[in-house]
Structure formats: C-alpha cells, structure tokens
Symmetry: C2
Subunit: 232 residues, 2 copies
C-alpha cells in the first residue's frame, strides 16, 4: 500500500503515454539515457509497468521533440543534448524572451501585473533567506507569467518548450546565490519596464537577462555536465 501512497502532483493525472513521455524525457535530460543509447519498447514498458502501446506513443512525441530518433524497423536512439545545443537554445530564447517581454508590455492584464510584482517581492524575501528551492520556483513562475502575458499562443508554446528543455541545467545555476540575486534584480527591471509600458526597454532587458543566465551557466556547472558530449 505504501507504493500507492507516494505523493503525486495533481498535474501527474496524465494518461499512461503522457507519463511515459515525461518519464523518458526526464531520463534523457538527466543523463540516465545517454546519446546513442537504444531505447527498447518492452524494457521501458516493463520498467514503468505498462505495455508497449503507450511507450510507442511516447516515442513518437519524443521524436518530434528531437530527443530521440526512430529508425524504422530498427529502434529508437537517444539524440541527446550537446553543449552547443544548450548554447543555441539560450541564444534563440534570448531573442524570443525579448519579443515576449515586448508583447507582454502591450498585453499584460492587471492580474498578471499584480502577480508579477508579488513574484518580485517574494523572490527578494526568499533570496535574503537563502531559500533556493522557492527561489527557483519563483524564477520559473516569473517567466511563466510573462509567457502568459504576451498573449501569443504560439510564442508561449515555443518558450515553454525551450524552458522545459534547459530546466535541469538551470537548476544548478540558480543554486548559485549570487546569480540568484542578480537574476532577481534583472526580473525587477523587466517588470518595471513592462509596468512603465516601455516595450523597447523590456525587450532589451529580457534579451540581456537570457544572455546573462547563459554566461553564468557556462562559468560554473555546464562543463561537468556536458563535457563528455561537447562537440565544439
């Protein structure tokens, strides 16, 4: 019975294929499955206690996300994520987060603005206290608010995907207390620009925010994770 008492998030109420999808993706991003590893349907099915059907559905999704490559009648192979991939994603994100901040400036609702201000306030508090977990969560949430506020289903979708993609790498980064504080300051500036309806400034700040996050990540932590996979 203890097996079923394990705490599950409400949003984990997915279909089996959905759970399998998230599970495998996490395992690829975690490094459990490494580049060029072959994923076998039965093995993964048994590991997760499901049949091949949901596993195959998950495979198709992972293929579309570019995390695995399915070779017909042969197998599914992990594509992995190289150091250069991460770098490219951050460059792409910096442009799109900038655009998002601009659009958010034009479309943000009062409720969203209020939540953003609250987010900044809480982040300051938890930064003082050294509550890294809450800080990471608030950081995520800040970006989520912006994604919602930009009022663009397409852009929101893109940014959310990228966000997920580099989430693991970002975790480490934020546990650096200095970057956490600096990140908060940058969020606050972005928020102020949005509040002041200064789209140009919001865009530039959000753009720079991503570049800073990337540069900080490169300085500490990325090498040990991706050194063996580095291509460039």
């Amino acid at each position: 019975m203890s097996k079923y008492d394990v705490k599950q998030e409400v949003t984990d109420n997915f279909s089996l294929s959905g759970r399998v999808f998230h599970n495998i993706r996490e395992d690829i991003l975690n490094g459990k499955y490494k580049e060029n590893d072959e994923l076998r349907e039965v093995a993964i099915g048994e590991e997760l206690g499901v049949s091949r059907t949901p596993v195959r559905e998950a495979f198709r999704q992972l293929e579309l996300e570019g995390l695995i490559q399915i070779v017909p009648n042969k197998g599914a192979y992990v594509t992995g994520i190289t150091r250069k991939d991460v770098q490219d994603i951050y460059m792409i994100r910096s442009l799109l987060e900038g655009l998002c901040a601009r659009w958010a400036t034009e479309n943000i609702t009062e409720e969203q603005m209020a939540e953003m201000e609250e987010n900044i306030f809480l982040s300051k508090f938890h930064a003082e206290k050294g509550h890294y977990d809450q800080l990471a969560e608030l950081d995520n949430r800040f970006h989520e608010i912006m994604y919602e506020a930009c009022n663009s289903k397409m852009l929101e979708h893109q940014l959310r995907d990228f966000h997920q993609y580099v989430l693991r790498v970002r975790k480490k980064t934020l546990s650096n207390v200095n970057r956490g504080r600096k990140s908060n300051e940058e969020h606050e500036q972005i928020m102020e620009a949005i509040k002041a309806k200064d789209g140009d400034r919001a865009q530039a700040l959000a753009n720079a925010h991503m570049i800073n996050a990337y540069n900080n990540m490169v300085k500490n932590g990325l090498n040990e994770d991706f050194g063996e996979k580095a291509q460039d």
Copy 2:
C-alpha cells in the same frame, strides 16, 4: 524533375503513423478539418485504411505540435490556426531567420554557398519565365539551405517546423509575380551579405525579408483564408 536529396523530416518515413501524421496535418492546414472539429480514431483509420494504433500515434504528435488538443477519455479536437497565430509566427520567424542568416554567415560551407548562388540564378530564370511552381520550390529550398548552413540543429528544427506550418499560406503569396520577383531580390541580397561575411547585414536583411513576406501576405490572400477564423 528537380532534386530529391532534400532533407526530409524524421516523420516522413514510410511508417503508417508517419503517413497518418502528415495526412492529418495537411488536412488541418488546408481547412478540411476546421477549428474545434472532433477527430475520431476509427473514422480516420478507416479513411486511410489503417487501424487505430498508428492514428493514435499520429494524434500524440499532432498534439505536441499544437494542432490538436487531446482531452483524456473524450476526444481529439482541432486547435486550428488563427490569423493572429500566423502573424505571430511570422514575427517569431523574422527574428529566428535573422539569427539563422547570421550563423549561416559564420558557418556556411563552400558547397552550400555554391548551391545558394545556383538557387538565386535559377530563381531569376524561372521568374522571367513565370514558372511559379519551380519558383516556389526554389524559394523553399533557399530557406532550407540557410537552415542547414547555420549549423545549429536546434534552430534548424525550429525554423523547419514554422516553415511547414505556414507553407500553405505562403503558396498563394508567391503566385503573386511581383512578390516573387521582390522575394528573389531579397534572397540575392541576403546571399551577397553571407558571401561577404557581413553577419549584421545578413541578419537585418533576413529579418526584413520575413516582415515583407508577411506584409505582402496580409495585403492579398490572408483574409479570404482566415477571415472566418480571425479573432483579432
């Protein structure tokens, strides 16, 4: 006939699910399935002569692409593409095509440069002759070359997706002879900037190229296609 060595998407394989995926996507993009339509697994399976299994796999992919929404135990509903979506995609693409042109400037190979020059040359020829089909193909190919030349798997993937997404809308646009000629000129300028290793200029030109393509599209053709779905 022209070349077949054009790089294809992974899902273009000969598996049933791949075919079903492309089939449904095409039908959504060309309006056979409209917004909020419910897609039933057996109906589509029978129509394409396959069982539910490949249909379901295709559904999962379509959901990830944002073309349909799967409500657990209920059904799959077409999300559709609004006029605002198209506009947003073009804005996003303009940024990413700019980045792509910049990176292509830094990474393009001699072979790719040669093909790009050949592409420009052929485009001029077919524009003179009024060969719209070849012109559209060459236009697609020009962008494909840039996507490959940028040397970024991530960016290439993103741009290819967007490109596919708006392909149908673009078809009409290019059949406007004036836009076709203007587009060619812009391609040539981008090519020249890349050849001259002027990344800034290449980026700015590619950026503007997308904006122009969008503005032209809005001027003629978009309304009749998306008028009934327009939200804004």
